[in-house]
Symmetry: C3
Subunit: 336 residues, 3 copies
């Protein structure tokens, strides 16, 4: 008999269903996702003010723990934390204490002992943020900023916010995700969020070599031919081609990929006339997407970036709130 | 027929003549330069307080975008921004997103979409900050922190502030700039500022190999012999010898350069008795300047550093004010 | 006849005995050390608040000057400064201005001219912080964050705070320091602090090859056999094995060291039943200490980390206060 692993949602939620970590979208309810989107909406307005600050995390310490370097993602979390008035410590762990032979757990326990309130974790290994939240420092709010191929839940939620802003709803939408599904942590999170929020159809469009073997079970339809796949779309989400992960000759060439799966004006013309175009960035122009489309009237790529700050502010403030609730309830039970 | 390029001053000024970017001193009026110096003067006092902060940029996001590394210059802008109460994001762009194949424009548009208010830009290529302000992110205040050989306008303005502090005026002054004029972005900005502010004479002193071919047209007199050039000076500004740019054997040796163009006590004795000595730093002692002079009673080198913070606070707060004016006026015209 | 060097305590204290730098524990009185511990105690409570900030250094500029990289130590000082509401500038000096040929003094004088209030200095060379405080920038509060083999006084003081928290007193305690005494800057500071605070016995336990030649004169008893050395101990402080400094074959092997001087449960059983276990971190599990001991009920290793922030807040705020006193008194005497 094996001990059952705690399910992710039991780790990331308090007893009364509030967020206390943000690890994955798996198992989160439509109500909670909608709550995140509503909270993010309220922060959009903060970004438009002259004084772009709210005091929700004032005096709190947020540590950006990037075991895998990503200036772009780290910057968005750093700005989100600062606009919540937190103190921010950036640690590039690949070059610090762990190189002195200290274990990951010891590094984290040390940071917790410095009275850190939140770790934003980016890690090349799937499940690392979940492991930290479940087994190392459950009293520190853990925010997953991307783990291996597993999840990138804040990216998926900013995409959902962008869709809701432009379409006003999820019901009845047909949404396609195009490109390197196999290596994409964001695709997995997007498929989960879109299904939870109740779109009509999630479609993945990719060559067979860039699809996971279990694609059919992910809750989406699969289309190998992009021209067929574009039909009736309300939203098309292009993925970044992870060039660094493509050295195993999964594709003949970038040119060939662009011809078959790159989003140009002619392919976009096959979708609905008001189909919006999304991309998580950074864009490889002429590889996944034509410049005229990336910069065109249907592109909402820069809106996604703006929404990224708001969504990160939302999950950070909600998880901090959940941690406080949890501590209060433990105190009520006489636990430390 | 070619489209006329917008002149720098039309890019960096609002319709009513306020600063909204700070790219170059070319085309700025004596009134505006004086306004910058007066504003900087008021910030000098802030640096002397126990609480060295004013709330002028509170809640604003300032991004230090250094495409060319310079810890010293970056630190002064970082401190200036923090003393204006801004949130600061430091990005060393050479090691970040652009290395993933993203274009410069895309990086900047992304940062703008994160609701950045100001970019402090250092770039090895002349004109990069101007290009960004004119064509990429005009709604973000761009501050030039040094571009190629073109300009380093905050350095020139801190020099002007230092001269005014010690001489009380510009009229009637004879000012020399000594050394590697050819490779110096700061010399070009200094000559422009000194002429605009109305000194009697700007003199450059250098060997022919370290002078630009158009030296005579820069608005200065040229002197190859330093001993002659020191006569009647009120101010002598030594330039740093850019050793890394000198590999083409433009000079026989550092020793030879020091003998001919290094500022020692005997050469300084040829200037007016109250001539002040300036240097942008970092100093190469015994190459451009004798230690006894750098540390002597006529040196105002450390005053320049102190003034650097005040001048940067001044242009940052003025450009932010100009951006706000511009936005308000666009709103009044019903533009986005 | 030679000029007498100022003693460290005359450098780091004001005329009326207040701290104005924090360089070493040598020469500091029991009253002053107790004052630091009492102040730190008051900051422990700050770390437990939701809003972990006090305004003591608000508007002050603290520069972390690390000539020797240490992410862990730098992070604790950065957090301490931010919780005191200071503005913090992190400079990794090994990679910055000094590489352009600028002298250490010029770098420091420049930073002082930027209106810096405090330098936190880590340097591989013994005496560097003292030299800076005595001869370069006496008007900037210098905090020693570790210099060569000489001292690491904030680490020693956090250890004292941890002992006082758990034992309630220093009188009558027997405290051992175990391991690489020879290469440890922290051991030297600990021995000094323990003696000043009046413990009954300071014992060092190490092989002869890891003891300084003057061990007998350091104010401690020496024991080569750990099993004997553990007897009657109230506190055992393990040192980190500096692997990088051990290449001269001072020890047969890590395994051999662990067998003889590693703290495992059986050796710990020889001490008093309530003996606490300390370690400055990062821990080499299985080299200096058994995991079961490091994570066991007598370990106070993570308390040390928490106390480290409080102690750093204490010495930073006290030194800042001493600098202000000094300036006021100089003004009273009509000095600049």
């Amino acid at each position: 008999m094996t001990t059952p692993q705690p399910s992710p949602d039991s780790v990331q939620l308090t007893a009364d269903g509030q967020l206390r970590h943000f690890l994955t979208l798996d198992g989160l309810s439509r109500e909670l996702l909608t709550d995140i989107l509503d909270t993010a909406d309220s922060f959009i307005e903060v970004g438009e003010r002259a004084i772009k600050k709210v005091p929700l995390l004032r005096g709190r310490t947020v540590v950006n723990l990037f075991f895998e370097s990503s200036t772009r993602t780290r910057s968005t979390f750093e700005l989100a934390a600062k606009r919540l008035s937190a103190d921010v410590l950036n640690l590039d762990i690949s070059t610090s204490a762990t190189s002195k032979g200290e274990s990951l757990s010891d590094t984290l326990l040390n940071l917790e002992a410095m009275a850190s309130d939140m770790f934003v974790v980016r890690h090349a290994q799937s499940g690392a943020p979940h492991f930290i939240a479940a087994s190392v420092t459950p009293g520190v709010a853990i925010i997953n900023a991307g783990d291996g191929r597993h999840a990138h839940p804040t990216q998926a939620m900013l995409d959902m916010l962008t869709i809701r802003q432009h379409k006003g709803r999820f019901e009845g939408l047909k949404v396609a995700i195009v490109g390197d599904i196999l290596h994409s942590r964001v695709a997995r999170s997007q498929i989960c969020a879109l299904n939870t929020l109740g779109v009509e159809e999630v479609r993945v469009i990719a060559p067979g070599t860039l699809l996971p073997s279990d694609a059919e079970h992910l809750g989406c339809t699969v289309e190998y031919d992009m021209e067929k796949g574009m039909r009736d779309l309300d939203v098309v989400i292009m993925l970044r081609l992870q060039k660094e992960r493509m050295q195993g000759a999964l594709l003949p060439s970038e040119q060939e990929f662009y011809r078959l799966y790159g989003l140009d004006r002619s392919k976009l013309a096959l979708a609905k006339p008001d189909c919006i175009v999304m991309h998580p960035g950074p864009i490889n122009r002429g590889v996944e997407i034509e410049s005229a489309v990336a910069d065109g009237p249907r592109s909402v790529i820069l809106n996604q970036v703006t929404n990224g700050i708001a969504v990160r502010m939302a999950v950070m403030s909600m998880a901090m709130g959940g941690q406080v609730t949890e501590r209060v309830s433990r105190l009520g039970e006489g636990q430390p």
